[in-house]
């Protein structure tokens, strides 16, 4: 038994190290003086300076943040209200709608890209922020909807009945009891949505317009076209931001509790 436990630690350690190799290399090479990543030209801040001077990246970052904000907002509204509405009445129509709403998560992203490219040109919607928000909302709604629904199913309904029984109006019950109970679930749905939206290349490429560039799309095009050392510097910033967000998320309990069950 002893030996087995040691083997498992070695295995986990090795896989974790492999997982972090490219991340560490990215950080290291962001300080590389040389333009070519195969040559170490000494320590330098210059790519960071170049990064800050690059207006395109700043614009793309701003676009990505605006996009993530709006689609998270829409997703949390649609997903949470849907989960609340479907909680009480379980009929076939609700089942069909909830299945349909999950489709964007269950098919390869590329299909969604084609779907929206086709649909938006059919509707004559100009490609830009609006189309991006709609497409991103489509794959963010399922995250919020699924997690909040699971939380509602796992939660003790009598607490709400007790509040009603004690004289609270339905509105009051919602704000005093239901909302605090589903808040962590909705928050982790929003976090997942944010990460998904902020990370998306495939769908964005198809529905973005010439004037609006998101950060991942910009990174992708630059990586495709050639050597781009300032991408390493940008990566370090994104990594740091990710670490901070994970820290906040685990502090408010939105990560690692898996939708949560009651007591």
């Amino acid at each position: 038994m002893k030996k087995k436990i040691k083997l498992s630690w070695i295995y986990i350690g090795a896989v974790t190290v492999l997982m972090y190799v490219p991340i560490v290399l990215t950080v290291v090479y962001s300080f590389n003086e040389s333009r070519i990543s195969s040559v170490w030209g000494g320590f330098s801040w210059k790519w960071y300076l170049e990064l800050f001077r690059d207006d395109n990246i700043a614009r793309a970052l701003k676009n990505s943040l605006i996009l993530a904000f709006f689609c998270c907002f829409a997703a949390v509204l649609i997903g949470t209200s849907g989960a609340l509405g479907m909680r009480k009445r379980k009929n076939r129509l609700n089942g069909v709608i909830s299945y349909l709403s999950l489709i964007p998560l269950m098919i390869p992203e590329i299909i969604l890209g084609v779907v929206y490219l086709a649909a938006f040109s059919f509707m004559n919607l100009p490609f830009g922020m609006l189309t991006l928000v709609i497409a991103h909302t489509a794959f963010c709604v399922p995250y919020v909807f699924m997690i909040v629904r699971a939380r509602l199913e796992g939660m003790d309904q009598t607490a709400e009945e007790a509040a009603l029984d004690l004289g609270a109006s339905k509105m009051r019950v919602f704000f005093d009891i239901t909302l605090p109970a589903i808040f962590p679930a909705a928050a982790s749905g929003v976090l997942l949505s944010f990460a998904a939206s902020f990370d998306d290349v495939v769908i964005s490429i198809f529905v973005t317009g010439a004037s609006v560039n998101t950060l991942p799309v910009m990174i992708y095009t630059r990586m495709k076209t050639g050597v781009t050392p300032e991408i390493n510097a940008l990566a370090v910033f994104i990594l740091a931001a990710t670490a901070v967000i994970i820290g906040i998320a685990s502090a408010i309990g939105a990560i690692g509790q898996k939708g949560g069950t009651d007591q």
Partner: protein, 284 residues
């Protein structure tokens, strides 16, 4: 609790509207589009045809589908083999270590895929880190030209999707009652036998949802093939993208998407049949 229609409809309206207008209708339109004829410049004219589907049956595109499925199957297999023990061992750790491992897993999981791929480009690049490392060890005397090769794409896929498998397996192994394996061992089952009959059976839902969560995206992540495989590895995703950007053939891209959609739906139907549940486990 008695809930009146008046209070329920405002809650249901947003998800009904959004799903019908922006998910269901566009999907229907995609299917319709796949039977239309391409227009001169862009878009389609409503002349019904089966040509788009006939074209998929050309050996060129059949090969692309075969290639995509081969890559998806092999990366899923590698992810399963590498991820299962990881998730399993993690579930057996102490609560404190579980938490630490979770944070360690979360950082790559939440970091942009592109940025993590960027690291692999540094590794694989000709005369890059791996080449230097191998040359220093004397295992090879010249750059291996690993970037823009099939193995590089495979590594990229595995790397991008591994956390999904680990988390799925972990979440179902964590729910497992370990006294069951002890009982099996007590009843005379060997270590291996106990694992197969008890542990594997109980973690199967996690394994299957891990497979779903890795197999389906791997069919469509064209940018991994693009960045790590150059133009050597052509996947369905890449073809669809090409048909849209260079070929400007919307109906054909739609037909390709429909076929891909049907393939993945079959796969999900199979999963539902085995696990009797709608949604992959361990997604959150």
């Amino acid at each position: 609790m008695a809930e009146s229609r008046k209070t329920i409809w405002p809650l249901l309206l947003p998800i009904y509207l959004f799903t019908l207008v922006f998910v269901f209708a566009p999907l229907v339109y995609l299917v319709v589009l796949s039977f239309m004829t391409r227009a001169e410049v862009w878009g389609a004219v409503p002349r019904l045809t089966l040509d788009n589907y006939k074209r998929i049956l050309e050996p060129l595109y059949l090969r692309v589908f075969a290639e995509s499925i081969r890559l998806a199957v092999s990366s899923t297999a590698i992810i399963l083999l590498a991820g299962y023990p990881f998730g399993y061992f993690m579930a057996r750790m102490s609560p404190r270590w579980k938490k630490r491992m979770m944070v360690l897993l979360m950082i790559p999981f939440w970091t942009s895929t592109l940025i993590r791929l960027n690291g692999w480009i540094i590794v694989f690049r000709s005369n890059g880190v791996l080449d230097k490392f191998l040359m220093a060890l004397g295992l090879t005397d010249r750059p291996l030209k690993l970037l823009y090769s099939y193995p590089a794409v495979l590594v990229g896929m595995v790397y991008a999707l591994l956390p999904y498998m680990i988390l799925s397996v972990y979440s179902s192994a964590e729910k497992m009652d370990w006294s069951l394996t002890e009982a099996a061992r007590d009843l005379g089952a060997g270590r291996f036998q106990a694992f197969v009959t008890i542990t594997l059976k109980h973690t199967l839902p996690g394994v299957l949802s891990g497979v779903i969560l890795t197999f389906i995206p791997s069919m469509g992540l064209f940018f991994i093939a693009d960045l790590l495989g150059g133009n050597k590895i052509v996947l369905v995703g890449s073809v669809i993208q090409e048909q849209l950007t260079k070929g400007r053939n919307l109906p054909f891209a739609a037909a390709l998407s429909v076929v891909l959609f049907v393939l993945t739906s079959l796969f999900i139907a199979l999963y539902r049949r085995i696990v009797h549940t709608g949604e992959p486990e361990g997604l959150y």
